[in-house]
């Protein structure tokens, strides 16, 4: 079993996966996902980016547990995973924790609202409008 790496406060690294969702499964079609603690989203190939949409939609549906990215992933995907709502990663090949932390901390700003707590540049530039939007 691949080592679990937390990328967000919602991670529950000690917990096992309750369910695994494949790239071509529609998370909106799954009943009862809200009962789970850890939902795994599988990336058989890193190039296949459907899992990013799945995670984000789960967060939009209000899922507050751990969403774990599993499969063919490297440090280069971490920031996109985190921003799309993933909270932990279990990569096939082990991640170097120091390199992973550096990758997550690399960019000081983001340009769009997503499923993490990142505040888009436009909201930083216009803080009053941002409060209204939230």
């Amino acid at each position: 079993m691949a080592e679990v790496f937390a990328i967000d406060g919602r991670a529950v690294v000690s917990a096992e996966l309750d369910v695994v969702i494949g790239p071509d499964e529609d998370v909106r079609g799954h009943a009862g996902l809200g009962n789970y603690r850890v939902i795994g989203i599988d990336f058989p190939k890193w190039r296949d980016g459907r899992g990013y949409s799945s995670a984000r939609i789960l967060r939009e549906m209000g899922f507050a547990g751990d969403i774990r990215a599993i499969g063919d992933l490297t440090v280069d995907q971490l920031i996109f995973l985190k921003r799309s709502g993933f909270s932990s990663v279990a990569a096939e090949r082990p991640l170097n924790p120091a390199v992973a932390q550096a990758a997550l901390a690399r960019f000081p700003f983001v340009y769009q609202r997503a499923a993490d707590s990142g505040v888009p540049a436009w909201a930083l530039r216009h803080p009053v409008g941002a409060e209204a939007a939230e």
Binding site: W46, R50, S84, Q112, R125
Partner: protein, 546 residues
């Protein structure tokens, strides 16, 4: 022009630092080429036939003098003294050394430029109308919206691993100078009942399966601009094909679903995502728009020109377009001198154009998808001085939209994807047609060295496609395409030719046009009126039917 604030600069600087780390790991052997390749590609660095090629983003084709001078510096310092402007309004350098690539990106960052997302299956550089802010027929300036898209699409977490690359164009005139309907998303700014909004076209493209984008929304309010794009991208990311690289573009999804079903899915997704606070506030749009406020045009300028020098008069007639401000003109600079490589400019030429922009054009330069440059705001009274300076730098060719203004991809001279050479065919054709170009009038010839269609052959009045035929370069001839507001796709005329044969065939096509045209008809008009038959007969003789 847009100027970076601390946020924009910090993001680009962070990208350079990230890439420098990755490059150092590659050079030390900690990263192998397999793992490094996707990282360098995300920074526009390709390994080509002879060397690394770097593609630099020129957002919506707009440059300042300082930026163009930096592109000249890059050409001198890191390449062989020239650069190649592309059909995506970008610039490519063909002789880059890997070890120097991080320094190059750092130099670009010092003038608010980058190579982010110029490759890979992500949202690429946003394209626009090269006459934006200057065109007389413009509803409003499209560039603030293009800049908003640039920022929104940069490192978008959900859309960084799309099924395939994704290209967006924004225009604001009925005249389409950006081939808008041949993009994955084409956005046209329009007026309705005193409000501005967008016509939204999705699923156009060239390449292996050329398709003209259908309209999926006739008026998108500006307040939903980003959330609607988000909805389109989400439907594509979830349902675009990933089993076959040749069927992975959004045009295939839209075509397979049908435009109305695709639109329905987008509307449904949009109804959801618009509640998530994805759209930038009015204040941000106003902030960006301020950067694109019209420059301080002078009033009461002289409109008349001294046309005493016939070479100057010809250049004015062919290269200069009307401007929305009285007394100003739009100047097109040809990068198509006969015998040279279409779209190439030397470092010295870039310096000259940068100087001219600063002195005469409110410090702006535009890159066109036809691989030429534009000075968007020049006083009529300065045209003579501009022309003289261009002429001294070998940049005063007068062939805009004429037979020698040929678009050509790099082809097999540089590109690993190519099946045939494009540049020599373009050069031979230009030399052949130059003496007749005035007589032939508007004639857009576009040459691609492979089915991917970077040379836009599908949109050529005359398109040429290089293919591999049993190990030999073979060229197909296509007629009747257009990338303008009357968008159409060129059709193959008949069997292909070798390099000498394609040149002869084009000559026969042009002769047939001259023989058959009605008063005032362009080549494209004659082809549309008569169809392929007379051209087929001219090229293949009477023996080929159908």
């Amino acid at each position: 022009m847009y100027q970076y604030d601390d946020i924009d600069q910090a993001v680009v600087d962070a990208r350079v630092a990230e890439y420098r780390d990755q490059l150092e790991r590659r050079l030390s052997g900690a990263l192998d080429e397999d793992h490094f390749k996707p990282l360098r590609l995300k920074n526009g660095l390709y390994l080509q036939l002879h060397a690394y090629m770097l593609r630099v983003a020129i957002p919506y084709g707009t440059l300042s003098g300082r930026q163009l001078r930096m592109l000249g510096h890059v050409a001198r310092q890191y390449d062989r003294g020239y650069g190649h402007f592309t059909t995506r309004q970008n610039i490519q350098y063909n002789w880059i050394r890997l070890e120097e690539s991080a320094d190059l990106l750092a130099d670009l960052a010092s003038v608010e430029m980058h190579a982010i997302q110029t490759s890979g299956n992500c949202i690429r550089n946003i394209s626009s109308d090269q006459y934006a802010g200057a065109a007389a027929d413009e509803v409003d300036d499209p560039r603030p919206w293009a800049e908003l898209l640039r920022q929104w699409s940069s490192f978008h977490p959900e859309f960084s691993y799309l099924p395939r690359k994704f290209k967006i164009a924004v225009i604001a005139s009925e005249t389409d100078r950006a081939a808008m309907k041949l993009h994955d998303i084409g956005l046209q700014l329009v007026h309705r009942k005193g409000e501005i909004g967008f016509r939204v076209y999705v699923g156009g493209g060239m390449g292996r399966t050329p398709i003209i984008a259908p309209m999926i929304r006739d008026f998108l309010p500006t307040g939903d601009f980003l959330s609607y794009c988000e909805a389109i991208l989400r439907v594509y990311n979830r349902y675009g094909r990933r089993d076959n690289i040749y069927k992975a573009r959004i045009k295939i999804l839209v075509h397979d679903l049908g435009a109305s079903e695709f639109a329905r899915q987008v509307e449904e997704e949009h109804a959801h995502v618009k509640t998530l606070g994805l759209d930038a506030p009015e204040a941000e749009i106003a902030r960006i728009r301020d950067f694109f406020a019209p420059p301080a045009f002078e009033a009461g300028l002289c409109e008349t020109l001294d046309r005493g020098d016939p070479d100057f008069a010809l250049w004015v007639d062919r290269q200069v377009a009307a401007h929305k401000a009285p007394g100003y003109r739009i100047v097109n600079i040809s990068l198509k001198p006969v015998g040279k490589i279409p779209g190439d400019a030397s470092a010295d030429q870039m310096d000259v154009i940068a100087d001219l922009a600063e002195r005469y054009a409110f410090d702006e330069i535009r890159v066109t998808h036809a691989q030429n440059l534009v000075l968007p705001h020049v006083k009529a009274s300065d045209l003579q001085a501009v022309w003289e300076a261009l002429d001294a730098a070998g940049l005063a060719d007068a062939n805009l939209d004429l037979a020698t203004d040929i678009i050509a991809c790099p082809g097999m001279d540089y590109c690993t994807l190519a099946n045939a050479r494009s540049i020599p065919v373009a050069q031979t054709l230009a030399a052949l047609l130059a003496p007749r170009e005035a007589e032939l009038g508007e004639l857009k010839i576009k040459v691609s060295g492979c089915i991917n269609g970077c040379g836009h052959h599908h949109a050529g009045h005359i398109g040429i496609l290089g293919v591999d035929r049993k190990g030999n370069e073979n060229y197909q001839l296509l007629l009747g395409g257009s990338g303008a507001e009357d968008t159409s796709l060129a059709k193959i005329l008949g069997p292909g030719f070798d390099e000498a044969g394609i040149v002869v065939a084009v000559e026969k096509v042009t002769s047939a046009y001259l023989a058959q045209r009605a008063e005032g008809e362009r080549f494209l008009d004659t082809y549309r009126r008569l169809g392929a038959a007379p051209f087929k007969a001219a090229v293949y003789g009477e023996t080929v039917n159908g």
